[in-house]
Amino acid sequence: MDTREIRYRRTLQPHPFTFEGSGGEYFKVWIVNLALTLLTLGLYAPWAKVRRKRYFYQNTVVADGSFDYHATPKRIFKGMALATAFFIAWSLGSNLFPPSRFLFLIAFLLLIPWAVVQSRRFNARYSSYRNLRFDFGGTYRQAALPFAGPSLLPMLPVLALLAVFLTLDIDTEEVRPMLLAMQLQSHMFELIGATILGGIIAGALYPWALFAQNRFVAIHTRFGTTPFHFLAERGDFYGLFGRASLIPLAGMGVVLLTVAVLAQISLPSEGSMLGEIPMPPPTPAQWMAQIGMGVMSVALPIIALMLYAYVNAALNNLFWNHATLEGMRFECTLAPARLGWIMVSNALAIMLTLGLFAPWAKVRMMRYRLDNLTLLTPPASLDAFVAGASRPVAAAGEEIGEMFDMDVGI
């Protein structure tokens, strides 16, 4: 952020976002709608979904106005039906005819950009603030590279290698799987090389892809007729992941130090008994390896979680702090440690309560996220937005995206 932008932000008036819902209240909404869905053998599911979403929209308040969600259950019903059909086709197909898994994977990757565009459009057009609808104007063509690229491109080296192997035994129809397996065994080095190359491509592309995805979502979203803009640059995302990579590096450092210290102070001088068999005392190297394994098994999940929480918080902050709407700005101040704690404690509580805590968990997360989001406006500017034309949109992309947990939300 340059100094001009910082100075400009100081002139703006802050309006904090607040979440007015409560866990107990949402639990009642959730469980009543779940029971109705089960009672009607799933037919009520679209109505349940609309009510759950509306609860969160209506309780999100900023500058004396709340949001609302207007999707009609009928539309969602069609989308859910299509998503269910797709799920059944995928589930049966990949079980009955395993080779079709590969086809489904490709279809799936090509489907992601479509689902993103459709889902964004659906959610935008049926969301409102101050009785003005949002809209989303991005297209499949614009979404294809940012959303399918990071999954497809890193696979290319391995795919190319497999294609070469397959063409080598093209005339031996019967034993092709056997031959392919043998080829793979004798070309282990090439395969590992291709995989590593794919990994490097993925690592190098990922920050760029996230930049492109975030920018795509921001600049094609409109409030009324007014588009959002995105001030972040590619370098901001590479910087973010550069800082994020320090977490595993520092984590490894701590692990090595811990192992070294533990090995120093605790090397057993006497052998132990494994059942009837006496074991000689371990050599320092063996002991080091044993301690190393123990420490790693504790440290790895912690490091992974810290990385996940950091990236999640930093990406959210980066997005909102660089998204603009006319003269308005946003300020997002999520703290990775707090976010990580909420994620872990929520997941644990959900498991311990067999799922009953889920509504409280959702409200708790929503409240933390909104408590850290502020809208900054020039005086009186919130009144000046103008409505666009309203156009209906199908829910298929939204429902397919939700069913397969595609990352369609930012």
Binding site: E20, W47, Q58, A361
Partner: protein, 337 residues
């Protein structure tokens, strides 16, 4: 004016207008200060009850305008029949009990019944297709048999006898070395039974072999492979519909129940196949003890590694299975040896 206040939006701009609301002579009247703003007949106005009950009431006006207010409308103007249910704790607790009950019924009874129906509807080509796939997989995993052709023929004759006794169409027997599987037999949905050399060595009599073959025939007869694929898919779909709006780490919590369902379904199929075997032995007037004997020996010959917890295992506990094969009076002492 009255004390029913709200904010009016015309639907064309984001401008907020503070208004007073009132109902008079069947009309909803909005006024700014003392100036009338709009009046609409009540039947053209939609009152939207806030979900959960505490939030903002939204009043949709004809022509795209709307009014947001925190005070509920005077009387009987909202028609949302779910909203009162969502506000009461006793209703929520009843809904919870109902949800648990219905989920249990669905998983324990509904999904297996549906899968059974669906399996009957699917054409035999599908079963054939899965069978071919599995055989190709077995060809890749298990090395060819070392048994002489005469022994293989003998085993085929035993399988033929099982099929005749159980009034089933004939099945094909395929021998393979067991490798990691050890002493084992597998049923492919297309009616092929795979027997490992190790099992052949382990069996002490034709009766024991036939007991195992009848168990596998039970899998074929019950179309268990197809039904388990259908059941597991349906259970996954059902679970996804319950936990659909969980995300991130919480979604991991949904993986355990899936494994649990799959294991329980698999155990049911094993019990069903055991019953087929028992049925065969009864018809042939062979003591059920032979199945208990070979099962016990297979168990002992198997890997001595850690078994998964009983509720996650694909097979019911062997003790429990042996129990049903003991001739009731009196229990024979050598069982399980």
């Amino acid at each position: 004016m009255g004390d029913w206040r709200g904010i009016y939006y015309d639907g064309h701009t984001s401008q907020q207008v503070e208004v007073d609301l009132a109902v008079s002579e069947g009309m909803l009247v909005l006024t700014v200060g003392a100036q009338p703003l709009t009046r609409h007949p009540l039947e053209q106005v939609t009152f939207q009850t806030p979900i959960g009950g505490r939030g903002v009431w939204r009043i949709d006006l004809p022509g795209g305008g709307c009014c947001e207010t925190r005070q509920p409308p005077p009387i009987g103007l909202d028609h949302d029949w779910v909203a009162p249910l969502e506000r009461r704790w006793p209703v929520a607790l009843a809904a919870l009990a109902l949800t648990v009950l219905l989920s249990w019924a669905m998983v324990a009874w509904g999904i297996p019944a549906l899968a059974d129906r669906a399996a009957r509807l699917l054409p035999t080509e599908v079963t054939q297709g899965i069978g071919d796939q599995s055989l190709a997989l077995i060809d890749r995993m298990l090395p060819p048999t070392n048994l002489p052709p005469s022994r293989q023929n003998h085993l085929q004759q035993l399988l033929d006898r099982v099929a005749t006794t159980l009034a089933m169409p004939p099945m094909r027997l395929v021998c393979r070395r067991g490798g990691n599987l050890g002493a084992n037999a597998l049923a492919l949905p297309s009616g092929i039974v795979v027997v490992t050399d190790e099992l052949n060595t382990l069996a002490r009599s034709d009766e024991e072999l036939m007991a195992v073959l009848a168990h596998e025939a039970g899998h074929v007869q019950g179309r268990h492979t197809l039904r388990s694929i259908l059941q597991n898919s349906a259970a996954a779909l059902f679970l996804a519909s319950l936990t659909g709006d969980w995300n991130g780490l919480a979604a991991l919590g949904a993986a355990l129940p899936t494994a649990l369902f799959n294991a329980q379904y698999s155990q049911q199929f094993e019990r069903e196949a055991d019953r087929t075997s028992l049925d065969f032995l009864r018809r042939e007037q062979i003591s059920p003890q032979v199945f208990a004997d070979i099962l016990g020996r297979i168990e002992k010959s198997g890997h001595h590694g850690k078994d998964p917890a009983p509720f996650l295992s694909t097979h019911p506990p062997t003790d429990e299975r042996l129990e049903s094969f003991r001739p009731l009076p009196p229990a024979t002492p050598q069982s399980g040896d």
